[in-house]
């Protein structure tokens, strides 16, 4: 098992200690870690387990139950496709499928170059502009299947310019 840097261990312990005395601290701890690092691998769960006394089995269960948490690092650009009811009836499934097809990954997965992750979301509160897609905070309204390739290219071009 790979080991974490000492700084990371200190940070994770610090996060755990924020919620000492809470009745159900686990979700809050994991949320903070997810925000801090973007993912929660088993090594990190082991440290949380040691600090809180909650078993790794239980922590792993929570991490895999809520789609908000991820076990693996996300790509640089997280493509959040809303599959909430409003978006769904407006054809969101086809949008996700198109992203999947073009990037060669399933929702929840990350491309090999570490650039893109597809995330299937529940309602993101943008039903008026359904189907909606968000990429690192930027919202794309009324997305159509024909636009998907263009959106991907936008980020690829951005990468090329930065490189």
């Amino acid at each position: 098992m790979a080991h974490l840097s000492e700084a990371a261990v200190v940070k994770i312990n610090e996060i755990c200690d924020r919620y000492i005395g809470e009745k159900t601290p686990l979700i809050m701890i994991l949320s903070d870690i997810q925000k801090e690092y973007g993912y929660i691998p088993l090594e990190v769960q082991e440290i949380v387990s040691e600090r809180t006394g909650i078993s790794v089995a239980e922590i792993y269960g929570v991490v895999t139950f809520y789609s908000f948490f991820s076990l693996k690092p996300n790509g640089k650009y997280v493509i959040g496709c809303c599959l909430g009811t409003a978006c769904y009836v407006k054809g969101a499934q086809q949008i996700v499928d198109k992203f999947s097809e073009l990037l060669g990954i399933k929702p929840g997965e990350t491309t090999e170059d570490g650039l893109f992750t597809i995330d299937a979301l529940r309602c993101i509160g943008a039903c008026a502009i359904a189907p909606a897609v968000t990429i690192n905070g930027k919202v794309y309204p009324h997305v159509e299947v024909s636009e998907v390739a263009g959106i991907i290219d936008e980020y690829k071009a951005k990468e090329a310019a930065e490189a």
Binding site: M1, V56, A57, E58, Y60, G61, T64, F65, L71
Partner: protein
């Protein structure tokens, strides 16, 4: 507790307030079908819906395992509505279950098959996708097959209750939900100690032990000199497999059965236990007299050793260096016994009948191999596997005569060795001898009753030559952890600690007969609360009957030292009877 009035199928009963319907019905003599409910709510998911009953005045059926009784409640178990609903629940479970009962080792003790039969569940009522399957048989002790898992959670609860930091949990969601160690890893890459407690509560074939019966068959077929030894706790439970009341000691019939199965010699591991006491007692005295590492902790439970190596790798020098009794005895069989009988040790095949699944792992350890590359023990079969062998051979167990263990060389065994099978027993046995060695006298009360019973942690002290020896006993890793944290902080007040992996000790080991009230119609309805006590009594009464009750008085052990080993902890004893430990990571890639 105050009583309330309920009716079941129109008959009035008085039951304790606060009980669930299922437990209340049980106290009135009804067994409502159930699966996910176990041991008065030790596991209580309320998820399988196999226990549905109709309650007068309520619109929907209630799950009897979670619903409490109330004054005036009128329950119907057999109403057409309830019966049909239970059947549907079972049919749903079966629709995602890989049924092959004729090949399944659980057949005969399977609770799913039992409720399927009870409810008249029809095959293939609900066809649908099947959850992807994991089959983990990489470790020597336990097989996990998710195709037979009904997600009842009994294993999750047991592992957590026994060991605190449970290994098993639910993961993923909806249709992909499974019960598994984190990341669906194989057990041998997790902190699992291979105790088999999860196996002993699983209602189906999803968690099973790894059988070694075939290895024994092969050794016999090849004409090897096959010797068997039996752990103390096996005699206290084997009879259960043949319908005898829990707590019936069957030593004589067990020996007779083993002879008829074709074993060359049938030995009692109690001899090895006496030997362990000589070595461990001497080691303890050495540590006390020479300022060695204290407290010293017993090392006869391989589940506990696994735990210590995983979570307390920095404290391994507290573990006694003694091998466990059956490993010691195996080592002696392949040296002293072989020499005495002029047999080439390579031709000897040692089988240990154990209450324990972790012993299957232990015997494979590289430290348990002698200088010639021979294992101390070649196969470990559990009480349940022995019962399978006996049934398969056509032997009618109840009709067997009582026979004695073989008595050449390793025949003598003390009552101290017998009680190794229950929590506190190793401590009591050790104290009987340590006291004698230090004072030259016998301790007044032979039984050190303060270490008996099932409290999670027991502690006591005795005065020896004006000095106080403080000791403690723990069973189940949840309790062991408390004592280990004291040690890690340098705050342990004890000199000697006994730890056993399974709650209750070996009498409740993962290889012992399943205790399932549904299959034990003649036991009391609260048998899950009393079976450990009953099994323990079987051992204590055998100790009581024994004339020889102290390990150091075992004349054959004395002779073994005179003729072969020299003295306890001699160079030769160390080579054959002691071992080493190494730390490991909880999760390994």
């Amino acid at each position: 507790m105050s009583k309330i009035n309920i009716k079941i199928e129109g008959h009035p009963y008085q039951v304790e307030e606060g009980l669930t319907v299922i437990d209340a019905a049980r106290s009135c003599g009804y067994e409502i079908p159930s699966l996910c409910d176990f041991n008065h709510g030790e596991c209580n998911q309320g998820s399988c819906r196999v226990c549905l009953v109709e309650v007068k005045g309520m619109r929907s059926l209630v799950a009897s395992c979670v619903f409490p009784v109330f004054e005036g409640m009128e329950i119907s178990i057999s109403s057409p509505k309830a019966t049909a609903a239970r059947r549907t629940s079972v049919e749903l479970l079966l629709s995602n279950h890989s049924i092959n009962c004729q090949q399944c080792d659980k057949n005969g003790k399977c609770e799913l098959l039992h409720v399927a039969k009870l409810t008249g569940a029809r095959p293939e009522m609900f066809k649908g996708a099947q959850t992807p399957v994991t089959l983990d048989e990489l470790n020597p002790s336990i097989v996990r097959d998710t195709s037979k898992c009904i997600l009842c959670g009994r294993c999750v609860a047991r592992c957590k209750n026994a060991h605190g930091n449970g290994v098993l949990g639910y993961e993923n969601r909806g249709f992909n939900a499974i019960v598994a160690p984190a990341g669906n890893r194989p057990f041998d890459k997790t902190p699992c100690i291979l105790c088999g407690q999860c196996v002993s509560v699983c209602p189906t074939g999803a968690l099973m032990l790894k059988s070694e019966v075939q290895k024994v068959d092969e050794a016999m077929a090849l004409g090897r000199h096959v010797i068997v030894q039996t752990a103390p706790a096996v005699r206290a439970t084997l009879g259960e497999e043949f319908g005898m009341p829990i707590g019936t000691p069957v030593t004589g019939k067990m020996v007779a059965a083993l002879r008829r199965l074709g074993f060359e010699k049938v030995y009692d591991t109690d001899f090895g236990a006496d030997l362990t006491i000589m070595e461990e007692g001497t080691e303890l005295l050495g540590r006390i007299q020479n300022g060695g590492v204290l407290p010293m902790i017993t090392s006869c439970s391989p589940g506990w050793v696994n735990y210590c190596e995983t979570y307390y790798a920095d404290q391994l020098d507290h573990l006694s260096s003694c091998k466990s009794p059956h490993q010691m005895q195996g080592a002696i069989i392949k040296s002293y016994y072989a020499e005495k009988h002029g047999i080439n040790p390579k031709d000897i095949f040692v089988v240990s009948v154990m209450p324990c699944t972790a012993k299957k792992f232990e015997k494979e350890r590289p430290e348990m191999v002698n200088a010639e590359g021979l294992k101390d023990v070649d196969a470990v079969i559990t009480t349940r596997e022995l019962a399978d062998m006996i049934r398969r051979s056509g032997i009618v167990f109840a009709k067997l005569p009582d026979e004695d263990f073989d008595s050449d060389i390793m025949g003598e065994a003390s009552g101290a060795g017998v009680i190794f099978g229950v929590t506190g027993g190793v401590m009591e046995a050790a104290l009987r001898t340590v006291y004698h060695v230090l004072t030259g006298k016998e301790h007044g009360a032979i039984a050190f009753t303060s270490v008996r019973g099932f409290d999670g942690i027991k502690e006591s002290q005795i005065e020896i030559n004006g000095k106080i020896l403080r000791f403690a006993v723990a069973h189940g890793m949840k309790n062991a952890k408390v004592l280990m944290e004291q040690i890690r902080k340098g705050k342990s007040p004890y000199q000697f600690i006994e730890i056993m992996g399974c709650p209750g000790g070996c009498i409740n080991g993962g290889g012992q007969p399943y205790v399932r009230p549904v299959f034990l119609p003649n036991e009391d309805h609260d048998i899950l609360d009393t079976y450990m006590q009953k099994r323990a009594s079987a051992l204590y009464s055998e100790d009581q009957r024994n004339v020889l009750r102290q390990s150091h008085k075992n004349t054959q052990v004395q002779k073994l030292y005179e003729e072969f080993l020299g003295e306890p902890n001699s160079h030769k004893a160390h080579e054959l009877l002691h071992t080493t430990y190494k730390g490991r990571e909880p999760f390994r890639d």
